[in-house]
Symmetry: D3
């Protein structure tokens, strides 16, 4: 991995470890619920990641968007499906979402480029 | 239809007609894009409605939540699936979503009750 | 005045008096700054009210929208101009704004109807 | 209890029971974490309720504000302290908070009135 | 053009081209409606850009703010008028807007500096 | 002071001076109210800074969070208390707060490290 994707993952891993190392009960349990939420249930894991992505995008959190793009790709969401998710976020959230869409697509392109490397 | 569901649908229909009757180009086209967005594409219509629902819930718009619950039910989303969507909205959006979750479930129960009538 | 417009104005006036009667310095000064902001300056009062309206609408505050519709009408903003303001709010803020647009137009219609009374 | 306070508490209790009765793991655990968060820790319960109140107010959730006003009163927060919390919410969140402030003060007055009854 | 203004414009142009090149119908039409909205109508283009600016600022989107500052300057909005727009955004949106105001003014100063170059 | 903390403080001071130098009445008065709000009243200054911190965190403004962390530390808020404030923000605001929590803790660690220097 290189560039933005690598940097994002490393800072995320390092700070999550730092935060959980504080051993704060409510914070730790919140992180536990967060993980539990995306496990397959009545709705499968792939769809749940798309739900997490669209929610992150209308709330305009670039890091959350980056995270869910990675998870979507791991669950086999295609780029065409991602653009459908993006379109729902754009229409629900409005033009204020556009700068986040630009960064999301730039992140996706970097993610795909790294995957294509030998 | 009775009660809140009927009232919601009637006000929505009446005011949409009033607004589109104004014949404002940008507003009319926005409504057109809104409709187009939920048509099946790479992502099917059922999943798109779930995306619309979770986005509405984290943005905490009761009317949008009511609308997408109705559309989800039409697309065959089960109540178990709806609660999975609710859980993603709750974890992404936080406890601030809870009052909207209460109203969403009350709306869903009223919707289901009317359907069960002979 | 009748109906929603009257009810809105009465509750607003009563509670503002109650709040300012508490004589809390920061709250009183905030209300003072709020009033000062809409006085004509480099930008005239009419345009400032349109700015207040579009800001209220993308932040999805029905009461703020109602208030600024009243102030816009007092400043001579036409209904055609109001729909242009609405269209900017809709495109910037997304479909999540639509339920607030419906209530805004219903409020505007009630406001205009009362004005038309002898 | 009477009026809005009673109605708020009854709907809240009824729907929480309905939602938890669904036995959805992530939702139940989220409600558990929510309760845990306000238990006294490094910060005492009274201050935590004030934190919950200001957070609810800047996020503009009337029901959350009502709930935390009740909890603040139970923890002995005075009305003067509540107005200080309101002032922080107002300045951080802006004039868009004012309609919620009006409803919060109306709710507080009704809560205090019921308490004063023999 | 130099520095932040140039960087902003280049990334924006490159990513818009990338996104529209995907040829996604709903996304393309949304971009079309976005452009249409700011064309002169009952409200002139200059005022519409000020509306877009204040909406972007209360929603706290730095890139949207930068974009509308550029468009406002093209439409002849003076710096004194821009500060009036900023003041409405500040009062409506609260102190949470201040960091975005700082970056907006820094962007404006850089924009003006580049214009002053021979 | 070094790194992010220093950079944050310097940009903040420079731009505040630039903005207040514009001598815009409403903006200047808003800054005055902002300062007044955090002065000790019914609620002490330490608690008010914690209120400002949690409000900034649920509204997801990194710069506001950084500012209130600095002010909290000056008022003697311990790191254990800060994590309690963080936990309220996390539960009220949801997982969308997590990336801001990561940056807040990274900022806190840098702040503490600089303090520990001889």
């Amino acid at each position: 991995m290189a560039g933005r994707v690598k940097e994002f993952n490393e800072f995320r891993a390092k700070m999550n470890e730092r935060i959980l190392g504080e051993d704060h009960r409510a914070i730790k349990r919140f992180f536990g619920v967060d993980t539990l939420t995306y496990e397959p249930g009545a709705v499968d894991a792939k769809t749940k990641e798309m739900l997490g992505l669209v929610a992150s995008m209308v709330l305009r959190c670039d890091d959350c968007v980056s995270y869910h793009i990675i998870e979507c790709k791991k669950e086999g969401v295609t780029d065409a499906e991602l653009f459908d998710v993006f379109s729902v976020a754009l229409v629900v959230g409005g033009s204020i979402v556009i700068p986040h869409l630009r960064r999301a697509v730039a992140f996706l392109d970097e993610y795909n480029a790294q995957d294509a490397q030998p």
